[in-house]
């Protein structure tokens, strides 16, 4: 049973906390010119600075073996920094920052106030309420961020001028040998929105460490032309494990994300290649135990392959749900050879709701995920307003509600983009020309049957959506709602869709974790029974 009054009282008690925090909204952000950048390579040579902790030697001797151990002991003699931010401050473009085994809490950054008195005034305010300008990040880098790399100087070109092509890497054998740890959530002393922020930091490489406990993003990359996120474990963020935004020429490789209140991996406002290219690649990665494994409002131009998204509440969502995201409507991402399975995490149940409602944010256990956005529990892939996406040769199984879900989002709901980087609003701008080809539905890679609630769910809206070559167990039939789907390449004729199916979604928009955790008329937040 829900008890609204206590929830409201707690909300009122938290009012100061929430009101003093920064919003998800970002300053007006702009896509870089992709022709001027490239995906950076991982480098093993070049100028470097070394960071270590007093116990790094002990950790090296206990945890490392062979050549890695010898290399780390050599590096230890060159160590001049105890904090990663200090090394970033000293670094010049093309430097490598080598971080020896240890736990990095970045105490000097934690001591910087969240509303830094050195950065007051109009030039430090963003356009949206509660947002901060780039100048704020540049002049007060540790106000919101434990470690900030800001590469653009005060010229107007939004391109990296210094601290470009930085590479920050842990030198251990495993990511867990180097741990970078935020202070926690909300108003907890020392808590920061972001553990790592790469802002106009073209060519940034982050590699081989573990990061946790941010209030917003563990790893945040914005307005950056060229990035590589590699061999990183990101866990227990209040919102996002990895978030890249209005960035291009990027790679996520061998990253692992879990325990995020929103999404493990979020390449939102992705590259505007409009199906001519994919500007961000996600590969060999794993995202689990989050509210959503991978999500992207305006998650455009991302090629995700050979990765797995499992045991989240929902595996993947890409959408045109929200304003403030350049590149609307969402289009042209590609999914190939991924495993999308068992996304039934019951994070919206009564017990979890009560914990999240009744525990002040700064006192929450970061390891207990409190969902910060809604998701249809038990769904593999949600496309909520998107065009020209390709889902090919994926294994999609054991998602108890739906394997995939495709529906329309009226264009007027996302609103006009004040940055001018989106298409003009058109009511029926989505969902068109999405292709589901050659996927294995309701069956594990070893051939065992493991059904989804229904394999393909579609509200019937749009044109050119198509399904071809998809198979169920033993090469048999898949299941769908509607029963009849349309073959590629022609796909579906133009339609405004099924009103009843669309109506089933409206009430879900009223979800609020504090005041309306189980909206009447919406079944998304109750985990479906396992299909037989």
């Amino acid at each position: 049973m829900r008890r609204l009054l206590p929830a409201l009282l707690v909300l009122a008690a938290l009012g100061f906390v929430a009101g003093s925090a920064y919003g998800h909204a970002e300053r007006y952000a702009f896509f870089p010119d992709h022709t001027l950048g490239k995906v950076p390579k991982y480098r093993t040579t070049g100028p470097s600075l070394v960071v270590c902790k007093p116990d790094s030697r002990r950790r090296i001797e206990r945890r490392l073996r062979g050549g890695t151990r010898r290399k780390n002991l050599r590096l230890l003699r060159r160590c001049r920094f105890e904090h990663i931010q200090a090394a970033v401050n000293r670094a010049k473009s093309n430097y490598r920052i080598l971080v020896l085994p240890g736990v990095y809490r970045e105490e000097p950054s934690r001591r910087v106030p969240n509303d830094d008195p050195r950065c007051q005034g109009d030039q430090y305010q963003g356009e949206e309420p509660g947002t901060k300008s780039y100048a704020y990040q540049r002049d007060c880098p540790n106000s919101q961020n434990l470690i900030a790399i800001t590469g653009d100087d005060d010229d107007p070109d939004r391109r990296c001028d210094d601290k470009c092509n930085l590479q920050i890497e842990g030198t251990g054998q495993r990511p867990s040998d180097v741990q970078v740890i935020g202070a926690g959530f909300g108003n907890k002393a020392g808590a920061k929105l972001n553990v790592f922020r790469a802002d106009r930091a073209d060519g940034i490489v982050l590699r081989n460490f573990l990061v946790q406990y941010s209030d917003f993003n563990n790893v945040y990359v914005i307005e950056t032309n060229g990035f590589r996120l590699e061999k990183i474990v990101s866990r227990w963020s209040r919102e996002y494990g990895f978030l890249t935004f209005t960035s291009d020429n990027g790679v996520y490789n061998r990253v692992k994300a879990y325990g995020s209140g929103d999404s493990g991996i979020y390449p939102g406002s992705g590259p505007e290649g409009h199906c001519r290219r994919h500007g961000i690649e996600v590969k060999n990665s794993e995202s689990y135990g989050n509210t959503i494994g991978w999500s992207g409002t305006a998650g455009n131009g991302v090629y995700t392959h050979d990765s797995s998204f499992h045991h989240n509440s929902a595996g993947i969502t890409m959408d045109s749900f929200s304003g403030g995201h350049p590149g609307m409507p969402q289009d042209c991402s590609k999914w190939e050879r991924n495993r999308i399975y068992s996304n039934n995490a019951d994070l919206f149940n009564d017990k979890r709701d009560a914990y999240c409602q009744n525990t002040p944010i700064e006192r929450r256990d970061p390891r207990r995920v409190c969902p910060t956005f809604q998701a249809p529990v038990g769904t593999g892939i949600v496309t909520g307003g998107g065009n020209g996406n390709i889902f090919k040769a994926n294994w999609i199984y054991d998602n108890w509600r739906r394997g995939t879900m495709l529906f329309w989002v009226p264009g007027e709901l996302r609103g006009e983009d004040p940055t001018g980087q989106s298409a003009p609003v058109s009511s029926y701008e989505t969902s068109h020309q999405n292709q589901y080809v050659g996927n294995r539905m309701g069956v594990r890679p070893d051939g065992r049957r493991d059904p989804n609630g229904v394999d393909f769910w579609w509200d019937g809206e749009g044109h050119g959506n198509c399904w071809s070559g998809n198979n169920g167990p033993r090469g048999g039939a898949f299941t769908s709602d509607p029963m009849t789907l349309f073959a590629c390449p022609a796909g579906s004729p133009d339609s405004t869709g099924n009103g009843q199916k669309q109506a089933s979604l409206f009430a879900c928009a009223t979800w609020d974790p504090m005041t309306n955790p189980d909206p009447v008329g919406c079944d998304w937040f109750t985990r479906p029974a396992e299909p037989g």
Binding site: L14, A18, G19, S20, A21, Y22, G23, H24, A25, E128, P129, G130, T131, E239, D262, F321, S322, G323, G324, I361, T372, F373, Q374, G384, G385, F407, W408, V409, P410, L413, R414, G415, G499, Q500, Q502, A503, S504, L505, F506, A507, C508, A509, T510, W511, D512, P513, M514, N516, P519, V520, G521, C522, D523, P528
Partner: protein
């Protein structure tokens, strides 16, 4: 529940005091809003006690009207509200700001309207309205949609 009845009564009183507001005793509703097209009521197979009404309303007054979604409820013959929620959008979206992380000063009006939490409707204009309610075993069925200063009939209600 009684508070809701009082609110409805206050709504009637307010309506009577406003010369530009319309009223109709023949099942068309009371207040500035009318159904622009007949609403439909849906039932989701997985939620047998829930109903979702989807319609389009028009402002038939001569002034702009503001309605807050949390003030909109399905009510029974006695004026008691059923548990439910409402929104002024015809699709699923979510807010730009996470619910526990609003901006200083709260959500801007534009965001409240975009996400269907508030409606500002100029005279003669239409807007979508979706209202969900949950029936209780043996309980009353709703007969109208109360939105504060007025109400709209539920077809068949």
């Amino acid at each position: 529940m009684r508070l809701r009845a009082l609110a409805l009564g206050a709504g009637f009183a307010l309506t009577a005091a406003l010369p530009l507001a319309c009223s109709d005793d023949e099942g068309m509703g009371v207040g500035d809003l009318v159904w622009a097209t007949p609403p439909k009521v849906y039932r989701e197979a997985t939620l047998p006690r829930d109903r979702v009404l989807v319609g389009k309303v028009r402002n038939d007054s001569l002034r702009q009207i503001k309605v807050v979604a949390t003030d909109v409820r399905a009510v029974d013959e006695d004026g008691d509200a059923l548990r439910g929620n409402a929104t002024f959008i015809r699709g699923y979206i979510h807010a730009l700001y996470p619910p526990t992380r609003p901006p200083p000063g709260g959500l801007p009006e534009s965001e409240l309207e975009r996400t269907g939490r508030e409606l500002r409707l100029r005279p003669g204009k239409t807007a979508p309205l979706s209202v969900a309610w949950r029936l209780t075993p043996g309980g009353e069925v709703p007969v109208r949609i109360d939105y504060g200063p007025g109400w709209l009939p539920i077809p068949g209600g």
